[in-house]
């Protein structure tokens, strides 16, 4: 599978529309630069700068056309920065995903070779319709063009233009009637087509993943390298003592729960036993339109924080902090949730990660008890409560709805924090720091700084699980469990229409 998508910020979309959708109703054209973002099975073009035409560089005559020197100028500017070039034009009278007229096709084809020769990257062609729907395709001189599956516009609201041919809206099912009644068929069709990744399927992530498939989202993936342990059972919903005894991965347990809960006709669920800090984990994450960050360590949160800006993949992040008294009892507990997206401060600027902690985690020292003791640091907090975790899930899902559904048209708020002791919900204002390297790398795609590296803990967890699975007792138990689960699923298919 080789998918293609395009992404841009709300600011760039606004500026492009201002130029392309003219008051006089004529078509217009302009150019943009983009950075490739290479996932495991999807390549995205991340638009990062408009190159507006100068005098004599385009002509508007009902239709519009590019002058050759304009394309060469933009392609040269792009090449100097290691970027590709995109041709943008408007169909003011059109609505929905646009096909190409023969003139459109001829124009884009004629510039594909020029752009590719100068930049070394495929030309991207884009059309905006009068109803603000974008459509896009990627051109190579040899293979011609291939359509994008989607164009996402990312800011405090996530708005996606869908190619109905490549990503048809899943049909609503009887189980989704109440959900659809909350926001209508069109919104449901947009929501359920999002490719959503949940990173970390512990207490909050597993709960979230199940809620997402219940709402009808067709493609939900989960990523976690960890194994179910007895000490997880006080809060990991659907996990059993048997799962812990059989050394099941959290991904296995989560997928089982998600399959049982999914309401889509044809759910496409995927599990990755990886860390997003590993190169393969990052590549997988780049295949998705939106990510839920359910990890508490600084390094994976830093990687997700990075792709929210470099690759325009919004990240819904949240967490729970518990403050017990030393002698027993609870001083307070707080949970917070925020969306990391262009136009909102990153996780470093809003105080959720610190550079020193990211560096220490990346160096393998974050929970190295010997190191922590000798350095006089505090061990990372481990307190967790099943009774409060669903509130984190709820808080993150509310942020997701604000981002993707935008009730009232408002989009995502600042970070929100609830304090259990005082029963107060606060907006947590934060500002972007001028020197923020995450936000300054907006739209850089594959040219992002290299935060990923080998991850010994993830490799060790997978190796330990694989070794344990060779034990006769575990092998037999897994086989029996698999048979029962398969039989249960088959019975479900037989009895339920």
């Amino acid at each position: 599978v080789n998918r293609f998508a395009v992404a841009m910020t709300t600011d760039l979309d606004t500026e492009a529309r201002r130029h392309l959708l003219r008051a006089d109703g004529q078509e217009d054209v302009c150019l943009a630069t983009y950075a490739p973002s290479s996932g495991a099975i999807r390549t995205s073009a991340i638009l990062n700068m408009l190159v507006l035409p100068g005098a004599g560089e385009r002509s508007v005559h009902g239709n519009a056309s590019f002058a050759g020197q304009y394309v060469v100028r933009a392609a040269s500017e792009a090449a100097a920065r290691g970027l590709g070039v995109a041709l943008l034009h408007s169909h003011p009278g059109g609505g929905g995903w646009q096909g190409m007229s023969s003139i459109d096709e001829q124009t884009e084809r004629s510039y594909a070779r020029v752009a590719e020769t100068i930049t070394g990257l495929p030309l991207v062609g884009m059309t905006i319709a009068g109803d603000r729907t974008w459509s896009a395709r990627s051109w190579t001189a040899v293979r011609g063009h291939g359509d994008a599956e989607s164009v996402r516009v990312v800011g405090s609201v996530l708005r996606v233009s869908w190619n109905d041919r490549l990503r048809p809206a899943p049909r609503t099912t009887a189980a989704q009637v109440r959900t659809v009644s909350a926001w209508g068929e069109a919104m449901q069709a947009d929501l359920t087509r999002l490719r959503v990744l949940v990173v970390g399927v512990g207490t909050v992530g597993l709960d979230l993943a199940i809620r997402l498939v219940q709402a009808g989202i067709q493609q939900v993936a989960i990523m976690d390298f960890d194994t179910v342990e007895i000490l997880n059972l006080d809060r990991l919903i659907t996990a059993t003592r048997l799962d812990a005894a059989l050394l099941r991965s959290k991904v296995y347990v989560a997928l089982r729960g998600m399959r049982a809960a999914a309401t889509a006709r044809m759910p496409e669920l995927q599990g990755y036993e990886l860390s997003v800090c590993e190169p393969a984990g990052l590549r997988a994450a780049l295949d998705y339109d939106l990510v839920f960050s359910c990890v508490d360590r600084p390094w994976p949160r830093a990687v997700l924080n990075q792709i929210a800006f470099s690759d325009l993949i919004p990240v819904v992040d949240g967490g729970l902090a518990i403050e017990p008294f030393q002698g027993g009892g609870m001083r307070n507990a707080t949970w917070r949730a925020h969306v990391i997206t262009p136009g909102r401060p990153c996780l470093q600027c809003n105080g959720q990660i610190a550079g020193a902690q990211v560096a220490r985690d990346r160096a393998g020292l974050f929970d190295d008890e010997t190191y922590i003791r000798t350095a006089g640091l505090k061990l990372p907090a481990r307190e967790n409560v099943s009774l409060l975790a669903p509130s984190v899930t709820a808080s993150m899902l509310a942020q997701f709805v604000s981002l993707a559904v935008a009730p009232g048209g408002l989009g995502v708020p600042d970070g929100l924090r609830y304090s259990v002791s005082t029963h107060t919900l606060e907006h947590i204002p934060a500002e972007t720091q001028r020197g923020c390297a995450y936000e300054n790398a907006l739209g850089s795609g594959d040219r992002r700084a290299e935060l990923t590296a080998t991850h010994p803990s993830a490799a060790e967890a997978r190796e330990r699980r694989a070794a344990g699975a060779q034990r006769p007792r575990v092998r037999t138990g897994r086989l029996a469990q698999r048979l029962i689960e398969t039989a249960s699923a088959a019975a479900g298919r037989l009895w339920v229409p």
Partner: protein, 121 residues
């Protein structure tokens, strides 16, 4: 709309920034070494060669390095050490303070190292 793109690897950006700061960077044995002159402490006003590993500057400037590599002659009253790839050197564990605030990350990094060296005895 303008985009400030990362146009090189973290190592290249780090080395270029050190050069611009006059810190005389040199790449050897997987270590970027450079010169810092502390203004306080036992080594005040002495140019000291220090370094960070190539692996640790890969994410520069998104994340700073952690380990500061120094010749064994540079001693601290309390420190967490591990071996350095450079013979006669060792790496000291040091957390940098606020990160992502300074307009020029290299300025923040050099100030951090200068501060660490200020504690040498």
């Amino acid at each position: 709309v303008t985009a400030q793109l990362v146009t090189a690897t973290g190592l290249e950006v780090f080395v270029a920034a050190l050069e611009a700061a006059g810190a005389e960077p040199l790449l050897t044995a997987g270590l970027v070494s450079y010169t810092v002159t502390p203004v306080t402490g036992a080594m005040a006003d002495r140019a000291v060669r220090t370094g960070v590993t190539v692996e640790e500057v890969a994410p520069w400037p998104v994340a700073p390095p952690h380990w500061i590599h120094l010749p064994v002659e540079v001693r601290f009253p309390a420190t967490n050490i591990r071996p350095s790839p450079v013979p006669g050197w060792q790496a000291h564990s040091r957390d940098i303070g606020a990160w992502g605030i300074a307009q020029l990350p290299i300025g923040a990094w050099l100030a951090h190292v200068r501060g660490v060296l200020g504690g040498a005895v």
